[in-house]
Symmetry: C2
Subunit: 389 residues, 2 copies
Amino acid sequence: MPVIKGPQVFPRTEFLRRLNAVKSEMDRLEIETLIVGNSSDITYLTGYTAKSSYVPQAVVISMKEEEPTFILRRQDAPAAVHQTFLDRKNIIGYSEALIGNPLKDGFDAIIDFVHEARAVERGIGVQLGYLSSRSAEKFKSRFKTARIVDCTHSVAWIRMIKSDLELEMMRDAAAIADAGVLKASEVIRPGVREAEVMAEIAAQLIRGAGGKEGTDLAPMTLCSSPRTGTSHIQWSEDVIREGSQINLEIAGVRHGYVSAIMRTFSVGAPCDRLRRLHDAEVSGLEAALNAVRPGATCSDVATAFYRTIERAGFQKDSRCGYAMGIDWGEPTASLKDGDMTELKPNMTFHLMLGNWIEEDFGYVISETFRVTQSGYEVLTKSPRKLYEL
Amino acid sequence: MPVIKGPQVFPRTEFLRRLNAVKSEMDRLEIETLIVGNSSDITYLTGYTAKSSYVPQAVVISMKEEEPTFILRRQDAPAAVHQTFLDRKNIIGYSEALIGNPLKDGFDAIIDFVHEARAVERGIGVQLGYLSSRSAEKFKSRFKTARIVDCTHSVAWIRMIKSDLELEMMRDAAAIADAGVLKASEVIRPGVREAEVMAEIAAQLIRGAGGKEGTDLAPMTLCSSPRTGTSHIQWSEDVIREGSQINLEIAGVRHGYVSAIMRTFSVGAPCDRLRRLHDAEVSGLEAALNAVRPGATCSDVATAFYRTIERAGFQKDSRCGYAMGIDWGEPTASLKDGDMTELKPNMTFHLMLGNWIEEDFGYVISETFRVTQSGYEVLTKSPRKLYEL
C-alpha cells in the first residue's frame, strides 16, 4: 500500500518560494538543471529530514518543471513521500543493488535520470565541493559535452535569509535550547556524574519546550575541569566535583532548524579570573549585538567583540560565530575579522564566543540571533550569567 | 597551563599494535607517509573522539617515526592532548585564521607539515575518497613530484578485525543498546508521545548499563505506524496509539565503538502478517548466524537469510548488514549477495534485517555479532521477540 503524506511543516507555497529563488540563481548562472546533494539543502528544498545522506541522494531542479525530482535509495523513498511536499511521481527510489557496490552507486542513478529526462545543453549545476574526487570525475566524464557549473554553496547562500515560517522554527528551537540550559542548572551538582547531567539534558531537548518537541538531537558538548580549555568533547566519565567549572554547548532542533546556546557553570564560587573573563565576554557579546544591523558586515560584529574584550585584557583567536539554520552551521559567512558579508534582515547567526585561552582554561557563552530591519533579535533567552551552583 | 592527559581508554601498546599494522600496509604499498583524515580512522589510531571533523584534520604516519603526528585546528589541540596517547610534541594546532577562509584551509597546514618534516620520495598515501575534488586537487598540485597512492579505506580494512580490548568496548556498547531496548519496552504505551519515548531511551543510552556509561549518542530511529515502511526517520510528533507498530533502531556507544540493535514493538496484538514476517525474519536471522564462521563469505551469510525468508514467502531487497565498529558502519564489507569478503575471527558486523517490504509496512530486527574461531558470538542480548505491549 502507498504510504500517506505526513503533516506538512511548511505549506507548498513556502517551498515554491524557495525553489523560485534557486531558479533565479540558476538563470543567472545560465544553467537549466541543478543537482543538489547536500542534505541540509535537500531539507530546505523539500522538507525531508530522514538521516539517509550516508548514501548518494539528490534533488534535481529543472527550469522547466515546477517541482524538482528527489532521487534517493529505494529504502528511503517512502520517507520522502511521507515527509516532503513533492508529488510521489517526483520521488524516485534507486536500486538497493547500488548500496555497498564498488562499481556503481547512487550517483550513477542520478546521472542516468538527468540524461534521460532533462536537457543539459545550457549547462548543469553540480555541488562539486561536496563530492569526493572520484564522484566529481564521474559527473564530469558522464556529462562530457555539458558545461558544468560548480554550485556548491548556491543554495546555502539563499538559505541564509529566513522566512517568517523558518524564523518561527528557529524561535521554537531556541526555546528548547533554553530549556536545556535551565535543566543543566538544576542537575549540575557536586557528586553527579557528567553522564547523568547529559542524560537529563538530552531528555529535555527531546521533550522540548512550550508544547513543541525537539524533533532531533544535535551534538552536545560538556567540557568540565580540567578540560575547560577544550571544545568538542561530548562529556567524560567523571563525577562533578566542588569547584568544577562546566562549559556546555547544546541546541534545540525543530524539523531540521537548529538554535544553539553555550553557557558556563561554576560549582561553588568561580575564581577571580573566570569572573573577569565572564564580565569581559558579556560586554563583548553586547557590543557585538549592538553592531548588528542591515548594511553592517560580519567583520564589524566580530571586531566589536574583539576590541571590547581586548580592553579588558583578553583575546580570542577563533572566529565569533557563523551563519546558522538547518543542521547547525551554514557554510557561508563567518563572524570574523575580514568577512565582508553584508548583514541583511532575517539572516540568523550563532554568535559563538567560546574562548579557549589556555590549554586548561576556557569559557563559553553564545546566543543565536536574527538580523532585524534595524538591529537584532536574540532568539535564545537564557540569563547571560555565569551560573553559580 | 598545559592540559593534563585524561584517563587512557587503551594502553599505548594497543595503539602501537594498530600503527604497526598500518605501517605493514604502507610498506606493501611502497609509501613512506600516510595522511589519515577520516575521523573514525583517527579515533582508531589515537583515541581522539572529540567532534571536530567538520574542519580539516589529519594524522600523519611516517615509516620513520614510532608515533604519528596529529594536525588539527588550534582550538581542538588541547582535546587531542587530553584524549590521545600521543606525546604533546606530536600534536600540532593550526591557525584559527584557516577556519571559514575561502583561500586557505587546514589541508594547507597539513601539506605544509608533510613538506617540511617528511620525505615523500617513495610515495605518499592520501584518502582521496574522503576529499572533495577541490581538496584532492590541492594535494595533487602541492605534491607534484610525489607518487600519490589512494589509501581511502586502507585503515578501515585493518580496523575490521578487533582486538580483545576493542571487543570489550563493543560488548559494553551492546549492553547499553540492550538497556535502551528494555527501556523502550517499559515506556512505549498508548497515549505516550513518541518524543517522550525517545527522551527516555536517549537518557538510558547515556546513563548506560552495567556501570558503563554511554560516552556518546548515536542517531536513533523510531518509525511508527503509518511510517513502518520508512527507515531513517528520527521520530514524529505523534502520540502512540492502540494498534501502533513501532520500529526502533538504536545503539550504545563506548569511546567511539558502536553496537546497534533493532527491535519491533506492537501496541496490542500484532496483525497476522506482521507475526508471520517476524517468525520468518527470526528464522532467517538464525540461519544467517549459523552461516557465520571463519572462511565463509559475507555473501554466504546474506544468502542464508534470503533463502530462509523466501521459503516463508517474503523477500528483502536491501543488504543484510555491514561491518561495524567505530562510529557505526565501516566502509568495507557488506552482508550482501556477491560480497566475497572472507570472514575472519574478531570481525564484527551489524546483521541488519530491517525489511521495508511495502511503502506502509516494514519490520525491523538486528543484532551486532562477532566472528569467533569456529562460529559467532552475538553481542546484543535482547530477546528476539516481537514486543507486544
